[in-house]
């Protein structure tokens, strides 16, 4: 493996790292345009209310205020992620549905004036009864949040495979439990922002901290009611997203609308409280899991019923519950299976895509259920998982096409490294280990944007290469990954590569950073574009060397004949040769990758493949629990990880370590604290994430499977790794204490309560 490649698979620094280390990269708030105005959003103080009237006259008279827009003045056009589920106006019309809902936008000469203007806008509300709990919201008579649906269940899906009744009848052990996964904030360090410019030809240019520039363009055009061609979206450097920067927000619409209204550029940056309240969060979810296993550990049936609390709008629904369903069917072979998913409206901030998107919740329930059954049946949790682990190219009940699968190897190696056999159940009280597994798609087959384009441009005889890609780097290293792929194909170094990305006017269509498809889609597109350019160069060089183009090797800035490396020329000479052969310059290579999705699964179909490739991960946690205080310390997470092939091992490790930080945070600290629809902890003092002091050790065990369709064998690498973390920590906490946590996070209170209950039970027995 070591010498096969020169650029991919190498521990190379990212191409944007120097700029970031020097503080030179431009994030949204760093961009300043001449005569730019400052915009602010007025928000609802009520969880549910009719808007009777909005009086902006006082605010309009305030010196320095240049523009105001409310829901009354905008097109009645809804937006969202899934086309059939658009349900949100850019600014609230008729009513507000959560505390923080967007009511009006103002633009003023400075921030102080804009804030004063907000305080001068008078909104008359008629409060409506509100509902905050998804299981309450589905009861008859609950206040309707979107009347047009006639119910607060905005989306429902049912998946059925095999014969669930027969399966449970065959089981030797069956149990059903209720789990709850809390709401979690993505908390990217960079708050969300947008800047808009409206030019004399009636065109908008919008810079936005977005993960999907092309989706942003589509939603902006729709809500502004202008053709898509009138909107150009440019993604500057983005300071983390984790799914939270997928959607259009009032800041994007407000900046664009007010830029047109005022004739001046408008910038809107959210503060941290707005990021917590008015963007997106991981869906809180109620999960009922019933699992049946045989004495030998075979899972014979599983039934899962979930209620995802979507808050006031759909955002990614029904996709979120669809993903929950898909990942019940993987990573284990379950022949009899039923999934009932509900996406429920409540008068709370909106659920959206977050790293893992609907899957960490379900896998937390399923992986806990498996451990509980393993104990009942007297089976080792590792053996139980190995017994049921999916294998590559096995017929799958839902017709998934799994070409590569390193799950068993990941479980085995993880257990081995943790010295599972010697330590499980043998550690002193308060000290425990646990395991969990998952899988993740490399992009989705059934979304509208399932393709990606790329252009490779070689313009100068100095041999420098420009790659144009629509992919959105939000900090995960997408641009560097693409540069490595193109450089490998062309046989140049990263030094020659420049990536121009995520500008809807300049770069080819791309589905964006979404569903972990960037490496697969944009990576393959970059590979194909580079191959196209290479072929054009190879034709000329082959002529000169009087060999076949197929015999040429491009490597380490040389083009030479396979097997006789002295017969060739330098990369720069090769480019010059193309130029002097009077071939058209610049050399342009074009690539487009489209997922083969002839019969993808949909919400309605029962069967079908939904991703071109699946990554697999097993994680083991080692924890220590203070039996006096109930405090949990995660000492180490060991992670076996099949990402196909690590295009950049440093980046893959970084993704894993970041996942563990997030997953451990969700296991033991992170929790949105509600009070009647108001978030109480909208800051980093009260919303606790891991700091450097709490971060556990992480051991990365690479499982290489070389996917036949992934670029250089690579699959998804950065998202699925967050899924097993909270589940394996929960299992380890049980192993350490005997306390089974069914509601995250694992707080000291819950541990102490559980220990008390165990004591009482033991006393009753005695």
């Amino acid at each position: 493996m070591g010498n096969e490649y020169s650029v991919v698979g190498k521990r190379l620094p990212r191409i944007d790292a120097h700029g970031k280390a020097l503080g030179q990269m431009q994030y949204i708030e760093d961009i300043v345009l001449p005569r730019m105005l400052c915009g602010k959003i007025l928000r609802s103080p009520l969880p549910h209310a009719k808007i009777l009237n909005i009086d902006t006259s006082k605010a309009e008279r305030l010196p320095g205020v240049k523009g105001i827009v409310t829901g009354k003045g905008i097109p009645r056009k809804t937006y969202g992620i899934v086309p059939k589920a658009h349900d949100e106006y850019a600014l609230a019309i008729d009513k507000v549905r959560y505390i923080g809902d967007d009511v009006a936008a103002v633009a003023a000469v400075d921030e102080d004036t804009a804030e004063e203007a907000l305080s001068l806008i008078k909104v008359d509300y008629e409060p409506l009864p509100a509902v905050f709990d998804p299981e309450e919201a589905i009861k008859p008579g609950a206040p309707l949040i979107h009347e047009e649906y006639g119910s607060n269940i905005s989306a429902k899906i049912l998946k059925n495979f095999g014969d669930i009744d027969k399966g449970f009848a065959e089981a030797d052990y069956v149990r059903e439990d209720r789990f709850y996964h809390q709401a979690v904030n993505h908390a990217p360090l960079e708050p969300h922002g947008a800047i808009a410019l409206y030019d004399a030809r009636g065109k908008f240019t919008v810079w936005s901290s977005t993960q999907i520039p092309f989706f942003m363009r589509r939603n902006l055009a729709k809500t502004l009611d202008v053709p898509e061609s009138d909107v150009r979206v440019i993604k500057p450097t983005v300071g983390g997203g984790f799914g939270q920067k997928l959607d259009l927000f009032a800041k994007d619409f407000g900046a664009a609308w007010l830029a047109r209204q005022t004739g001046r550029p408008v910038k809107i940056i959210y503060n941290r409280e707005e990021v917590f309240t008015c963007t997106r969060q991981r869906h809180p979810m109620v999960i009922y899991v019933k699992t049946g296993i045989k004495k030998d550990g075979t899972i014979v049936a599983q039934h899962c019923r979930i209620y995802a609390d979507g808050g006031a709008y759909n955002s990614t629904a029904p996709l979120i519950i669809t993903l929950s369903a898909y990942f019940m069917m993987i990573p284990y072979m379950i022949r009899n299976l039923r999934f009932e998913g509900h996406h429920v409206y409540t008068n709370k901030p909106v659920g959206g895509a977050m790293r893992g998107h609907g899957i960490p919740q379900v896998r937390f329930g399923c992986e806990s259920s498996l451990d509980m059954l393993a104990e009942e049946a007297g089976i080792d949790p590792v053996a139980l998982r190995l017994k049921n682990a999916l294998r590559a190219n096995e017929p799958h009940p839902a017709q998934y096409k799994i070409y590569t699968c390193g799950l068993s190897e990941a479980i085995e190696k993880t257990a081995e490294s943790m010295q599972w056999k010697d330590r499980y159940g043998k550690l002193p009280k308060g000290h425990g280990i646990g395991i969990a597994a998952s899988a993740y798609p490399s992009g989705l087959n059934n979304m509208s944007h399932i393709g990606a384009g790329a252009i490779v441009k070689i313009q100068q005889d100095d041999g420098s290469v420009t790659l144009l890609s629509g992919a959105a780097d939000i900090g995960q290293g997408a641009e560097s990954m693409l540069a490595q792929i193109a450089a490998e194909v062309l046989g140049v170094t990263l030094q020659e590569m420049r990536v121009l990305a995520a500008d809807t006017e300049l770069t080819p269509l791309d589905s964006g950073t979404f569903g972990s498809g960037v490496t697969f889609r944009a990576g393959n597109a970059a590979r194909l574009a580079a191959l196209d350019a290479r072929k054009q160069i190879a034709d000329v060089v082959a002529d000169k060397l009087e060999v076949s183009p197929d015999d040429l090797v491009f490597r380490d800035k040389r083009v030479f004949v396979q097997g006789s490396s002295d017969k060739g020329m330098s990369w720069n000479e090769a480019i010059k040769a193309v130029q002097y052969a009077d071939k058209p310059m610049p050399i342009v290579g074009r690539g487009f990758y489209h997922v083969d999705a002839v019969e993808p699964t949909t919400l309605l179909t029962q069967e079908g493949n939904f991703s071109p490739a699946y990554s697999f991960m097993a994680q083991g946690a080692e924890v220590k629990v203070d039996l006096e205080t109930g405090q949990v310390k995660v000492l180490k997470v060991t992670a076996g990880h099949d990402c196909g092939f690590a295009l950049n091992p440093i980046s893959v490790e970084g993704q894993l370590e970041g996942s563990v930080a997030g997953g451990a945070g969700q296991a033991i600290y992170e929790d949105i604290d509600w009070d009647e629809g108001r978030i109480r902890n909208t800051n980093f003092l009260d919303y606790k994430m891991l700091t450097s002091l709490e971060m556990p050790d992480v051991e990365n065990i690479e499982v290489i499977t070389n996917d036949p369709y992934g670029p250089f064998g690579a699959k998804e690498a950065g998202e699925g790794t967050i899924i097993p973390t909270a589940a394996c920590i929960t299992n380890a906490v049980y192993n350490a204490t005997g306390v089974r946590i069914k509601e995250l996070p694992i707080t000291p209170e819950k541990i102490l309560k559980g220990l008390e209950e165990l004591k009482a039970k033991a006393a009753a027995k005695a």
């Binding site: 360090l189 941290r272 900090g475 980093f684 050790d697």
Partner: protein, 155 residues
Amino acid sequence: MKQLIELKVNGEVYEVAIESHRTLLEVLRESLGFVGTKRGCDEGTCGACTVLVNGKPILSCLMLATDAIGAEIETIEGQAITGKPSPLQKAFVDYGAIQCGFCSPGMILSAKALLRENPKPTEREIKEAISGNLCRCTGYIKIVEAIKVAAESNV
């Protein structure tokens, strides 16, 4: 009512007219163009706006600009020597300590203050020194490694 103050940033003196309630973060970013100093929360909880004032890491969103009059202020823009990354910055680049990069300027300055006072810190001391700088991407492991490497190479 604005007042004219002088601030010494990265060794150069700037004259700037500000309202007295402006924070050092606002003045650095908006009046002087040092946008490498990041605003992550504006309430002293994330560490992204960390700069050095007389060698000590401080949260510039919690300090009034007028309180920095006469002090030596160091920002990320002053760390590179004639455009070349400092050994600490280079270690951050080489060891994968940077993902989205939004916490990096503050993180690098916290690390710099540590290494100045304690050129050979233990791993625990490194973790303590950066515990006020949140990072949502990296899980801190590669950041700690980069600071260790920089310490070993005698920054």
